[in-house]
């Protein structure tokens, strides 16, 4: 059922600028995501989550350390990895109709137009968008545009889907729908999903594991396993005591780093 290889991040450091102005964002990050797993990376804003995701996508090169996909060092984007970014407005091409946007990456692979189009419509249907293929992106709501971006990722037929704050700029109801959509697609297709988010509830709700980032520069604080199974729904899962326990734990981890007046002070 599962496809693709594991993603490895080994001792990843990322610094911007040179010499005394050097600003170290990520410091010695290591993590691993296995095929078919859903992993959420959660951390405060400005912790370098997007930078980490860009490294995973092969879009950015780390200052030191490495990112591997199986045995292959990821120094450029890979056919097996699709990215859904936060900025759906910017990432959908406004001059292409919706179906064309979804099919465009396939054109890059030399797939014929008729095949491309039927595949695109199929993927649009999978994300719950029928009959919008011939519209332009601006004619759709924010939540629908983000669905199109996800459909594009699916059409690319990549075993690994990376999502950067994917539901950050849509309304609350669409957000729940999109979270459930992500869970369903992942279950049905057996794809690996890595979601980067600052929303703790979302991270716990979506992930098999939650990797908590924090500190300055950012490092992995802890990796938590989410024992909630694969069948989750917005009402009962969020009401589960284990859900509450996990989210409190993540919050404490992040807070503890941000506010030195927390429990740590007592130790000093």
């Amino acid at each position: 059922m599962t496809r693709g290889s594991s993603l490895y991040v080994e001792d990843l450091c990322m610094a911007f600028g040179q010499g005394p102005q050097e600003h170290r964002v990520l410091d010695g990050l290591s993590l691993r995501v296995d095929p078919g797993e859903a992993v959420c990376v959660v951390g405060p804003s400005g912790a370098g989550k997007t930078t980490l995701l860009r490294c995973l996508a092969g879009l950015a090169r780390p200052t030191s350390g490495q990112v591997r996909y199986g045995e292959l060092p990821l120094i450029e984007p890979h056919d097996d990895i699709a990215v859904v970014s936060q900025d759906y407005r910017g990432s959908l091409l406004p001059w292409m109709r919706v179906w064309d946007n979804v099919a465009f990456p396939l054109q890059g692979r030399g797939v014929k137009k008729a095949v491309r189009k039927s595949r695109a419509l199929e993927c649009l249907e999978a994300v719950g968008l029928q009959d919008v293929g011939d519209k332009y992106p601006w004619q759709l709501s924010g939540g629908m545009q983000q669905r199109v971006a996800i459909a594009r990722g699916l059409a690319y037929d990549a075993p690994v889907l990376l999502m950067d704050e994917p539901f950050g700029s849509v309304d609350a109801q669409s957000r729940f729908d999109l979270e459930d959509l992500t869970l369903r697609l992942r279950r049905q297709l057996g794809i690996t999903v890595v979601v980067v988010t600052h929303d703790i509830d979302e991270a716990v709700y979506l992930g098999d594991r939650v990797i908590v980032l924090g500190g300055r520069p950012t490092a992995v604080l802890e990796t938590l396993t989410v024992p909630l199974g694969t069948d989750r729904d917005q009402l009962s899962t969020r009401a589960d005591p284990r859900f509450a326990e996990l989210r409190t734990r993540v919050l404490a981890l992040i807070r503890g780093e941000k506010l030195p007046t927390g429990p740590e002070v007592a130790h000093q």
Binding site: P77, I81, G90, P94, W95, Q107, Y156
Partner: protein
Amino acid sequence: MAKVRLLQLGALVVVLVLWAAIAAMGVVSSTALPGPRAVAGAFGGLFGSEAFWQAVGETLRGAVTGLLCAIAVGIPLGLLTGVYTAAEESSRLLMEILRSFPVIALLPVFLLVLGSTPGMKATVVFIACVFPVLLQAQYGARSVCQAVHETVRGYRIPRLLRLRRVVLPAAAPSIMTGLRLAATTSVLVAIGVEVLTTLPGIGHMIMESQQAGASARAYAYIFTAGGIGYTITLLAQFAEHRLLRWRPPAHQDEE
């Protein structure tokens, strides 16, 4: 909307009336400024004459040839220099110097090198038109936003496909602005060259009519030139509307 149209037509009528009044009062001699009626009469004569259509054809041929060459050269070159920073930076100084030359000042040089030929006219039009097209294409290509770049890179879109389906459409609104500018310039320069040389065309006919004392005919030619310019503007607007259909309606009113 209808009200605006009415006001616009009203303004046109006012100018015509003023013109007729000035001509009738004899403030300016009738050889310098014939009345509207005389010019309209001259038009009537011209429409039937072969010389008129030949002149229009000659002017259009020079303008369109030069313009098409400018588009064929300017758009690809502009897109490439817009995408590749190194190409833009190395060519910037040369470009700034070249486009600062008033093309009419170079006319004697072209006359010397190419002679007084239709090819020379098209060349001068090309040089005048290529820079607005090229610079607008370059500017448009640079306006592709970061999110689009990342997406295209992430999905490994090949270079040529990216140029054709991402950079070109992203630059299209900007290119259309350049095209509108270049289209008007092309007719202007073609007529300018005809006035200054002996090449056939509307410009030449204006000079000839004036020298022959047929000022009403000269004005008829001048208005023909104006009509061509106006038609080109309308055509450009129509093309822009068709080509940029993908833009949300709010955008279309911006310009």
